[in-house]
């Protein structure tokens, strides 16, 4: 099964999205599996759909010796706006709609996400040119943006060679932990 999404992060835990934490680790092997899980692959997908559809954090199902427990590491559905201590560093706040929106577009793409809650800047200073524009080819290790928190300017680099297909955040606006910032197409590098 083709990997549909790869997330690259400048530190921080992997973003919790349905695609990564559930589909890749549980449903994907089932397709070629002749064991007890194999026959349930359709069911598993329907459970994933159910989880997404109702924006649930956890789902457990048991019947006739078959038990499945799906859990998202993120409490999707938290508001995107930065509010109060509940959004402290490390507190994931990626919404389901974001995750879904990205995974639909990211076939073969690399998503660069924010490792921290902070403010997103496309250039090193307000008067400077942006680090990158959509359509630019970037090198591995090239700085794409800055995310600032507590007056620490955190440079976020590309982990791949590729073309910047889409810039997903607006400069000078707050971004959340795990929020997708750039879509990069590694197959388009010339």
């Amino acid at each position: 099964m083709k990997k549909v999404k790869r997330s690259v992060r400048a530190g921080g835990t992997r973003p919790s999205s349905v695609d990564d934490s559930i589909a890749s680790h549980r449903a994907r092997p089932a397709k070629h599996d002749t064991g007890p899980m194999g026959e349930h692959s359709q069911s598993i997908q329907s459970f994933i759909d159910l989880l997404k559809q109702h924006n649930l954090a956890e789902l457990e199902f048991e019947r006739e010796g078959f038990r499945i427990r799906l859990k998202r590491e993120s409490a999707a559905g938290l508001p995107l706006v930065v509010k109060s201590d509940t959004m402290a560093a490390g507190g994931p706040a990626q919404t389901d709609s974001q995750a879904a929106a990205v995974s639909e577009q990211t076939n073969g793409m690399v998503t660069i996400t924010s490792p921290i809650v902070g403010t997103f800047y496309r250039s090193p200073s307000p008067d400077a040119d942006p680090y990158v524009e959509e359509g630019d080819v970037v090198k591995k290790g090239q700085v794409l943006c800055i995310v600032e928190a507590m007056k620490l300017m955190n440079e976020i680099e590309s982990e791949v060679v590729g073309r910047v297909v889409k810039i997903l955040a607006e400069s000078t606006k707050p971004v959340e932990y795990g929020q997708p910032l750039f879509l990069i197409d590694p197959s388009s590098s010339s």
Binding site: V8, R9, A10, G11, G12, T13, R14, V82, K83, S84, D85, M87, A88, A89, G90, P115, I116, V117, G118, T119, Y121, P124, S125, P126, D127, A128, G141, V143, E148, A149, M150, K151, L152, M153, N154, E155, I156, E157, E159, T172, K173, P174, Y177
Partner: protein, 289 residues
């Protein structure tokens, strides 16, 4: 202790090394007569293999900078401009907390070093402006790079006004800036000051990494922003994109918690919002003008 004889001596590696009592910080030392920016030099050195704890110090910076590329006034022979390289392989789930607290614990360390040497008691304006009598005596600019890799690096840049008399500041800084000598009435030895702040930083940094330091509490005691009415300009002086409110506390991630004057919804009526980036201005109390 600083003496008036050594205070105006040029900075030398020998003087710094003699004063140093750290294990790691400053044991690799690059002393430059001038450099565009100690932070830029340190980042370049770090990316080319300079070890953890390396310190870059310059007598003057030709393009000293603050947040968002703003100029940091850096005349020669008087002040302290230094950058410290911190490298550490950090579990991914701890990177965010590490990045959040390093700028704050570094500010506490600088304030503590100043207090020890001068008897003055600096306070901190969130996140890390160092104030004496409500004027800025120093500031920090931290930068990080490569945090997604095993070669992640944080640069802690520190600029301190040391031996500048108040009339030596440019006119636009007169009411905003001060120096240690202006406040204490005597000059300070920059090598001793650098050694002291590296010691204070190393102490807190190691304690923070081992999880035994209550940086939040120590920071809270120093932070003069707490309890004040503030305006936060969310991005580059954009008055249209600013909020006003009452700073009530420091969040677990070092953010500034503010109760809004004009709550946006039911949620912000009763719950503070967390600020992680922006220019904080301390306002006078309503009706005190």
């Amino acid at each position: 202790m600083s003496s008036s004889v050594s205070a105006f001596q040029p900075l030398t590696s020998q003087a710094i090394t003699m004063a140093l009592c750290t294990k790691t910080l400053g044991r690799s030392l690059h002393l430059l007569q001038d450099t565009p920016s100690t932070n830029s030099t340190a980042m370049s050195l770090a990316q080319n293999g300079a070890p953890d704890g390396t310190v870059v110090v310059a007598d003057t910076q030709t393009s000293g900078r603050g947040r968002l590329g703003r100029q940091w006034y850096s005349p020669p022979g008087k002040n302290l401009y230094c950058s410290i390289i911190l490298k550490r392989a950090m579990p991914p789930d701890q990177v965010s907390g590490w990045l959040s607290w390093v700028p704050l614990l570094a500010a506490v360390a600088v304030a503590r070093a100043i207090q020890t040497l001068s008897g003055l008691r600096p306070s901190l304006k969130w996140p890390n402006d160092i104030l004496i009598a409500q004027r800025k005596v120093g500031g920090l600019l931290c930068e990080s790079s490569g945090m997604a890799t095993a070669n992640g690096v944080v640069i802690v840049g520190i600029g301190l006004n040391v031996n500048m008399w108040r009339d030596a500041f440019p006119a636009d800084l007169h009411d905003l800036a001060t120096s240690l000598s202006a406040e204490a009435g005597r000059p300070f030895d920059r090598a001793v000051l650098l050694a002291a702040l590296l010691s204070e930083l190393e102490l807190r940094y190691e304690a923070f990494l081992s999880g035994i330091a209550d940086i939040k509490q120590e920071y809270g005691l120093r932070c003069t922003t707490i309890g004040q009415r503030v305006r936060v300009e969310m991005s580059n002086g954009d008055r249209g994109n600013c909020i006003e409110g009452h700073a009530v506390s420091i969040g677990d991630d070092g953010s500034l918690q503010i109760m809004l004057d004009d709550p946006q919804d039911r949620f912000t009526c009763v719950t503070p919002i967390a600020i992680r980036a922006g220019d904080v201005v301390h306002l006078r109390r309503k009706g005190s003008d």
